[in-house]
Every structure is written in structure tokens, then in C-alpha cells.
Symmetry: D2
Subunit: 305 residues, 4 copies
């Protein structure tokens, strides 16, 4: 751990968040060298925290042994530069193991994902998340999505019980439910926008109190991603509109042609800009040549913004 709880909180309250893809080699194994090169490249751009083995990093597609190695490499490579947040999830027991591994590897915080597969009641989700929070000294951000989606009472109960719960990442984009949470819990938590390609609703997020978000496209158009965040925060609506029209809308349109492309296109984009990270793992699939060509045009466009 290189950063205090306060520093972790500050980092997710203000500033763009980086979610790098995870590098695989030609055999589909984690490629530490390629991953180091990626992190050092992205380090040159202004972000406030690094989320390793997150959704864009295919957390759901890796074993705990791979996870441990990924977090270790990340901390070795850029630990101390900005807070490093590692994921946890799948089941309470496995999530505790993730936390332990992350803490041992020197990570600064945890992004807790929902449980695997099962339907679950609000009180059970709270228990799941609380048991994980209580197992670790690290600060925890809860990723509110899918079968683990908490409404306001659940978020309040979790926050009341766990002092090290510091943030809530929204993965659903339900403005009513999210606004009710924010207006009720206020400054108790930091709020992170986390729908796929979060820039597409960044203005709405910001208006209700979500001051930052995860940028997946930062993986392949980092300059534009950083600029978009800065102009958004400065209230430059013209730039936001232009970038949305010229880059984010066509990107989201391409993304929505195939399930899982919110991740797959990012890996293709990284490859196109000279930082290949191998192929995504099944059940994800790589884009076609034609889709890559479309993406390449979008990258060209992003460079003009």
C-alpha cells in the first residue's frame, strides 16, 4: 500500500480513472513484459488512479494465480505513482482471497464486483460485500451492477457497516436510482461512473454528483480521453458535444453491434495504436477486419479533436 485511505478517496473523487486491458501472449497467457510497457506508456497521461484487472482488464476471465501476478506487476511497475485499485469478486470466499492477494502485492484499494450467477436479495448482497470489506485493510469501492445491484437502503446499510467502503461505482446508468443514492448518502461515498463507454453520459453523471468515471477508450486514445475529461469539468459544452458527435456516438454504435465489444474494441484499439495486448479470451471475441477498419478511422478522428 503506497497511498492512505484519504489519498485513495481523493483520487476517485477527482480525475480520470484508467482501466488498462490485460496483456495476453500468442498462447493466451498473461504477458508481463507487454503489460509493463503498456502501464509505462499510459503513465505519461494524467489520470488519478489505475484500476488493474478491472472489467476492461478481463477480471472475469482469469484465475486467481493470474490475478496475483497481474497486480504484482502493476505495483512493481508504477506503484506509488497513483493509487492502484485491484478487483475482487465472484464469491465472498474468492473475493476475500483476491483482497488478500492484492494487499500482499501492494495494491492501494479494491473494486468489488457482484457475485457470480445467483439471484440475491438486497440484504444478502450487503452481507456479501460487507464480509469482503471486513476481511481487508484496503479501501473498497463497490461496483453496483447486474445481479449485485444495490438500491439506496442497501448502499446505506453497507456504508454504515463498513468504514473502509469509500466509493460506489455505477454500472447500470439508472439515473433515478443513482440520484436517490447520491442525494441520500451525499459525501459519505465517492461516486464513479462505470457504464460501458462512460463518456457517453458523463455530463449527466457530473450533474448529479458523479465527478469521475472509468475511461476505457483511454487505452487507445489517451490524449483525447484526458482532454474530454478536462473540458467536461471546465464546462466546455461545445467540445463535449463535438467529441460526442464525432467520436463517442460512432464508437458506441459500433460497440452495440456485438455483445462484449465494450471490452473487445478496446483491445483492438490498443493494437491499432501500437500497444498490442493479444486477443480477448472467450466468451469475448475479437472484432472483424472491417470493424477494425472502422475503429481505425475513429482513432484518426480522435486525434483531430
Amino acid at each position: 500500500m503506497n497511498f492512505s485511505k484519504e489519498a485513495v478517496v481523493a483520487s476517485i473523487k477527482d480525475g480520470l480513472l484508467s482501466f488498462p486491458v490485460t496483456d495476453f501472449d500468442a498462447n493466451g497467457k498473461f504477458d508481463a513484459d507487454s503489460y509493463r510497457r503498456r502501464l509505462l506508456w499510459l503513465k505519461e497521461y494524467e489520470v488519478s488512479a489505475l484500476f488493474v484487472a478491472g472489467g476492461t482488464g478481463e477480471f472475469f476471465n482469469m484465475t486467481i494465480e493470474e490475478y496475483r501476478e497481474i497486480v504484482t506487476v502493476a505495483v512493481e511497475t508504477i506503484g506509488g505513482h497513483v493509487p492502484i485499485i485491484a478487483s475482487a469478486g465472484q464469491s465472498a470466499e474468492l473475493a476475500k482471497a483476491h483482497c488478500k492477494a492484492a494487499q500482499e502485492a501492494g495494491a492501494d484499494g479494491i473494486l468489488l464486483m457482484p457475485p457470480y450467477l445467483t439471484e440475491c436479495p438486497q440484504s444478502g448482497i450487503v452481507e456479501y460485500a460487507a464480509s469482503v470489506c471486513e476481511s481487508t485493510d484496503l479501501s473498497v469501492i463497490y461496483y453496483n451492477r447486474a445481479n449485485g445491484y444495490l438500491t439506496v437502503d442497501g448502499v446505506q446499510a453497507l456504508a454504515d457497516r463498513c468504514p473502509n467502503l469509500v466509493g460506489l461505482k455505477d454500472g447500470k446508468g439508472d439515473m433515478q436510482a443513482l440520484n436517490i443514492i447520491i442525494k441520500t448518502l451525499g459525501d459519505r461515498l465517492a461516486y464513479v461512473g462505470g457504464v460501458p463507454t462512460a463518456e457517453i453520459i458523463a455530463e449527466a453523471y457530473l450533474a448529479i454528483g458523479v465527478s469521475t468515471y472509468s475511461s476505457a477508450v483511454f487505452n487507445f486514445v489517451p490524449e483525447m480521453a484526458v482532454k474530454f475529461y478536462r473540458e467536461l469539468r471546465q464546462g466546455n459544452r461545445d467540445f463535449v458535444r463535438q467529441a460526442t458527435r464525432e467520436f463517442f456516438i460512432p464508437f458506441v454504435t459500433l460497440r452495440d453491434t456485438q455483445k462484449g465489444y465494450a471490452v473487445s474494441l478496446i483491445k483492438a484499439g490498443a493494437d491499432l495504436v501500437g500497444y498490442p495486448g493479444g486477443n480477448v479470451r472467450a466468451p469475448l471475441t475479437m472484432p472483424s477486419e472491417q470493424e477494425r477498419a472502422t475503429l481505425e478511422q475513429l482513432i484518426e478522428k480522435a486525434r483531430t479533436l
Copy 2:
């Protein structure tokens, strides 16, 4: 028609929108006297347009004969004060009849609802809406919801084809889809927030370019509703937060206990503040005594805001 197209557009680009309930007597028939009294009362408050026989006015629960009478009474009572927008919908043929009746009664614009029951392709929805627009001289706002929901290409096609389409009312609250529409069509249309109890996401709406919304609670707490809109537009986040916490969140919580309460509670509220409008018609149901008591407390709270 008392207002030009330009005046109608201006009225839905800036200023709160009133959607009065429709008054029924003890036998469930339209009560013109009671309705006149309501309109004259609400006229005292600052709104920019009046939507008669809208969703809150139970448009879906009336025959065209009743509709004609309601619009006629509204125009007679406060025509010329602010633009009067009347609904249309159900089928292309009936919607054209609604438009004709509204125009004959002196209304200033049309709010076009989705088709009844059937699933429909985007091109079919465009054809449905365009055929209605082309049948009338009135300015039309399309209510984008349910089976008639248009995505960006559909909205664009409709706007390109129909010069008298002047606005889009959102009834879904999908921020990504709505933002894509707004960033693409820009000033071609005016955008109106129209999810139930729209104040609950008014900040998010405003941030992406939806400068006004329909206020159902204006029916029973008009002063607070007007104040909320004004403070929102002036960027008073403290007031917005306080009113959201103390009034809108508990109201929405009560509303979500029963389907249809987005309308039913409004009628109960109007009754509680001395402007009874009778009962809602089936398939809607009136709140219980206990729910009325909860609502009464909320009204008390609204008066302190």
C-alpha cells in the same frame, strides 16, 4: 390557435410545463366546472405551457368525445394565456381525429403518444408519427416512450420529414439514447423531460440539454414545483438536493409501491389541497387512506421548502 409555432417552441424550451389532471364527477363523467376552477387556480403560477388531456390527465382513459370537450373547456378558460398543447394517439387514424378536434377547439399544439399495443419497427413508428404530423397545422411534440420509442435515426427521419415536429418528450430516461439524440439533432428540436416525477432526474436532463420537463406534482404543490424549477435553472444545487431528499425521494418511494401511482397520487394530492378532481378511472386505482396520510405529510413538507 392563439400562439405561433415560434411561440410554442419558445414555451417548451424554457419554463415549467403544467399537466393538469382531468376532473371527473361522482359518476365518473368529465366535470367541466371543476376543471375550469382548477385551470384558473393553476394559471396563477408561472408555467410556460399547459398540456391538456396529457398522461397525468388520463388521456388513455377517455373517448374522443370527452377529449374534445376537455380541450374546448381549456381553451375557453385560459386560451391565450400560455400555449395549450393537447394529446393525440392510439392509432394513426384516431390521432388524426384528435388533431382535428384539438385544432378546431383552438389548441396551439399536439403531444403525440405512441401507438396502442402492437410491437412496431422504427420505420413504422416514423410513418405513424409522420402521417399524424402531416394531417395537422399544429406544432407537434412526439412523446418517445413504450412501444413507440424512437432511437436517433428514427427521430432524425421524422424531423427531416415533418417541419411541424418541434419537440421530443422523453418518457424512458435512457440517458445514453437520449444524449445521442440530442447531440445529433441539436437545436432542430426542443427536448422535454417526461419520465414520471421528472424532477427526480431534472439535473441530469438539464446537463445534456433538456431544459424543461413536465411537472405532475405542480398539480398539488405548485409553489414548490415552480421554485424547484427556478432554483434548478439557477444552479442552486443545495436547494435541489434538499427538495429531492425531503420531498421527491419519499414521493417517488410512495409512487413506486403501486403501478399507476404516478398518476393516482397526483389526483389524491389535488384533492388534499382543496382542488378535488374525482377518482382516477380503471385501470388506475386511488391510494388507500394510509397512503393519503403519507402524501399529506409530504405536502406539509413541501410547503416548508
Copy 3:
């Protein structure tokens, strides 16, 4: 009314149900002559009841004046041959008007559709349906679908209250909910399968007590539709499997390429077999030439079954 309540009930408990398309002329107006010709043609095939102005007949796309004429023509043409059931719906008031018109025109029963647009609580749906049942002497079948979907308690309440409620048509295909209704209400009601292209789940329907269903494809491949029903009832699983594989699966696949095609393809099919009924009305759209060609091949296939 040519048939007693008992005869109506018997007709929907056993035997295929015909839902003819509604004929429109080149100007999109109801074409009575073409419609008569259609009914006389279909009369040659063995069905147990005729549903006029039903879903396939674009009930949702017509005014009450058109509706009255359609029902009148149907009764004049084949009244007394089999029970004629006419639709009602949209709002309680309009549905009562539909019932009155149907009864005056000589129809034998009513198929009650859900309310227009609004969300509604179970008790409100019951009130909606009961008020319509109570307004008419005709036997009523409730079409359980969309926003008007009743679960078991609602169906029970409606059946207890309305002696002239004789049937429930399922439009959702939720086997658990439907089975609970059937196992609970048993012989109190007749059950009709009513998902689009109901043959695709006819075996499952039959197994839980749904002994008949609406056949839309009867409009253009009546021989095969009648044979399918007969073989299904006789337990000929080989034929059911073959017809499902060779006709219904490719048909459903084509149908699912575009919203609304459950109706549109039927009208195209009627045209292809020499009984044109004009185009569907917006918001529905007619199939493309290529889709027509595919449909033509399926018709050829049906003739070999």
C-alpha cells in the same frame, strides 16, 4: 347473437381458431368486398370460431366506425356458421362502446384487449375488465398480455365477479404463470394459446390444459394449419416435429427479423396465395421483396406437409 354462451365456450375449448386479416383497399380504407371473399374462402376450412378485428386483424389500427363495419360484414357473411368473436379494448369506455357495437352487429362474443399505454395495478386491471364484462350480455375472453397481464389472483377475482367471463387467452407464453392460473381455476375458464405464431409452443400449451390456440398462418396456409391442429390433438409427434422444423421454425425466424412481422407477414402471405388484403397500416410495415420470396418458399413447403 347466433350462438349461446355454452356454444361459444365449446367453440373455444376445442378446435382451431381463425383470426382473419382485415382487408384494406389501395387507399387504405376498409374493403368490405375483399373481406367477404376472404371469409367465404376461409369458411371452407374446419375451424371452431372466427375472431374478427383481432390482433392479426389490426384491431389496434382502426377507429370504432371501421370496427363496427368490419363486424357487421363478418356477421352478414358467415354469421351462424361458427361463433363470431369481436375485439374490445383501449380504455374501459371505448371497450364498452366496442361491446355495444359488436352486440348490435350480431357478434357472439368479445375478446377483451389490455388498456392503452398506462401501467396499471392488478386490481385496476380487474376493474377495467370487469366493468367491460358487466356492460355486455356477450361472453368475454380476456386477452392476458402486455400492461394488462393478470396473475392468478387477478384472474380468479375477475372470474368470480363476472359470470360472462368464459375464457383466458394467453399472450405472454410464461408457462409458470399460466400453469398456475390453469391449475388454480381449472374448468372455470377455457384457455386459448395466443402468443404470436402459437403453433411454435402448441405442444407445451396442450400439455398444461390449453386445448386450442389462434392460428395466424391459417390466413395463408389454411390446409396445413388445420392439419397441424388435428395431428397435434391426435398425438402425432412426428408430424408436429416435421411441420415445426420445416415450416414454423423458418417462419418464426423470418418473423423475428422485424418487430410487427407477426402480423405483416400474414398479410403478405394472404396476398401470395391469391387473397390480397392490401397493406398493413402504420406503425406496421410490409415485408420487402426478398422477404416475400422467402415466405413464398415456405408456402410451397407447407403445401407438401
Copy 4:
């Protein structure tokens, strides 16, 4: 492995399937002794296969180390009696590890669950499942549900590619999609009904070719569960109707009051009949005292059937 592929296939084509809960002690750890006692008790009843660490066995709530121990205990205890099928899933890599552990422990087959969390395209799901099938000598049943739901083309592709794919377990209850799969693939696969409390739609399943299903209630009312299956297969509709009315409908009603109760109530039921297995793990929650009392009455009722 005690059974050949043919024997595994035969066991899932005919006969009830047992999915025992997994026993946890007071500290929430796997309790091997209690689990052995359970398996020996359930062995006395006539089932055709035993699924260990399945959905009812909280597969989603355990680490791979626990999983290995559970499968090992099951094989040691009743291996060779009926085929033992163990689960696999979460990610391709982890699922391969599950398969390896199951094969080493002596299991006879694999039930492959969907991937964790991510959205995925059909071709990616096929790749996920195929890579797991190809990693093992065991016969595999694919559990078709949630984000891993395959439509007919995906199931066909998977079956064509993997000779050891022997079955498809349905976890969605979509009769149209399932019937299309069965009518298309026919005898290539065995089909298993797997919605929660599958008895509630067992008649419909059977009618389209799903000849068996997983019985969760077998865990606490084994005699009735076995009788229900036998009477169903013998076409005794009166018994099926009575048991559905008197036991399964009230059970499903109780189950639907809380998410996750499809599993939680089973564990409570096992406890009530003298075979306690400890509490479910978070994110599941145990029923309240009142719910237990209701469940106890249902058990009494089951004993009279």
C-alpha cells in the same frame, strides 16, 4: 469415472435428477460428515443421477479447493451407484480446472455453467463452452441460462464441435427458444429441465421432449418428488394437478417473495426434515421463522400426497 458416456446419457434421458444442497458447519465451512449422511439418505430414493455442487449446492459460493473436497466426498460415498455429475464454470480457465478436479476425484460428468458477469456474443459462448469440453474426457451438459444463453445456432455449433457434449439443461423456461432447439437437434442431445422448482412446468417440458428435470425439493420431500416424477411420466394428470395445487404453487409463491429463495428454502426444508446442512452463504439469506413455519406446513401437505 464409474459410468460410461452411454450410461451418463441414459441417466439424464430418463429418471429424476438429484441436486443435493452442500453442507456447511456452524463456522460456514464444508461439513463432510453431514454431507455423507445426506447422500446416503437420498440414495435410498430412486433417482437416475446425482449432481454435486450444482446450483442448489451453491456452486457459485465456493472456492475450487472446497469444490474438490465436495466432489471427492460424493464419489467416495456413493460413487458407482448412479452417475455423479459435478459443475464447472465462471471462466474458461477455472472451468477447465473444475473439470480436471472432478475427473481426478472420479466424477462421471460435468454440468457447465455460464461465464461470470460479462455480456458475451453467441460465438464467444460457444468458444467458452467448447474449450471446456475439449479439455476433459468427461461427458458435458451445458446449462443454458443467464448471460451464457445459447440460441439454436449456438447449440448446434457446440454440439457439432464437441462429441462429449451430451446434454442441454434449460435454465430459462423460454418455450419457443427451447422447442426450436429440440426440434432442430433432436436426439443429438438429452434435454434437462432446469428452471427453479422445475416441477411447476414439468408437463410443458415433457410435451416438447424434455424428459427429465432437476428436482430441488427432492432435498426435503424426496418421496413426493419421486412420486410426482413417476406419475407425470405415466400421464396421471389428476395427481400432477393435485400436487401442483397443494404443494408446488404455494411453494413457488413463497419462493418468489425473496430473490435467491429457490436455494434458501431448500436448505431450510432439509433442516426441517432432520437433515440440517447449515446456512446458505451470502449473498443468499436464510428464511425467517415465519417463512419456515409456512414451509413446515407445506412439508406436512407433501406427505399426504
